[in-house]
Symmetry: C2
Subunit: 152 residues, 2 copies
């Protein structure tokens, strides 16, 4: 198996670079009608995927970054009217970060562009292959995340 994975690793790196950086990101971001730095957009995506307001610390966990970084990005998002910060009713130390309507729209539109790219790129695929890929890929990410977390 290792030989196959050895080929895969650079490809995964390349894919994540392609999607996460450079002009391609600018193009997808333009579709969202906003001008945000990448980590700020990542926060919108995380809130969108969560479907509920999240704490600063929880966002930092999911991004796998330190707290202060999230604090600053959220300040920009709040200034732009894309998120709101409310005191957590369960704990006055914490803040809950929620998408505003504008923030929800931006997240949805950004996601639509990127998913559209995926759909176009894979339009020739047999449906069975698409199903298999998403199933196996989800499981891999799951198993790998669990395993890597267990190393600490």
């Amino acid at each position: 198996m290792e030989n196959v994975l050895a080929e895969l690793l650079p490809q995964l790196t390349r894919l994540s670079n392609t999607l996460g950086r450079g002009r391609l990101y600018e193009r997808a971001r333009a579709g969202a009608g906003v001008t945000l730095e990448r980590p700020a957009m990542t926060i919108l995506m995380i809130l969108n995927a969560a479907g509920e307001p999240l704490r600063i610390g929880e966002i930092a966990n999911r991004m796998q970054v330190e707290g202060p970084h999230v604090t600053r990005q959220v300040q920009v998002l709040e200034k732009d009217g894309l998120v709101e910060r409310v005191v957590d009713p369960a704990d006055a130390r914490a803040r809950l970060i929620a998408l505003t309507n504008r923030g929800q729209d931006a997240a949805s539109q950004y996601l639509a562009v990127v998913l559209g790219w995926f759909a176009e790129a894979l339009s020739d695929w047999p449906a069975a292959d698409r199903r298999d890929l998403t199933r196996l890929l989800a499981r891999m990410v799951d198993d790998l995340s669990t395993h890597l977390a267990s190393l600490d």
Copy 2:
């Protein structure tokens, strides 16, 4: 398909963050016996995968970064004795970057640690699933790269 991919996208981002950043990277790097910044290690991996010396510009292409970034990283690698720079015999303007023995060892050992993580995480998988995943994932990365490149 799009709903499944919508869940997958943050997971892919998270996976690439997990592998590419933070203490996990430090641990894999320690296995390689060197102390390099991430982009420098990426260059070692690219040269290792290529199996032959590459030009600065070609490395920049594969990393999807601009030239000056590669120049500086290569200067560090050369100072550490992990790569050599020789004038391209075919074009005296260009430089060919080649792994030294030490650089080859560092790349191999780093790769062994990361591939070991993959192998452990997927150890319970049926062989057929592993084969299917690598085959489909390679094809996806390929098709997606082609499609995204065609957008420019």
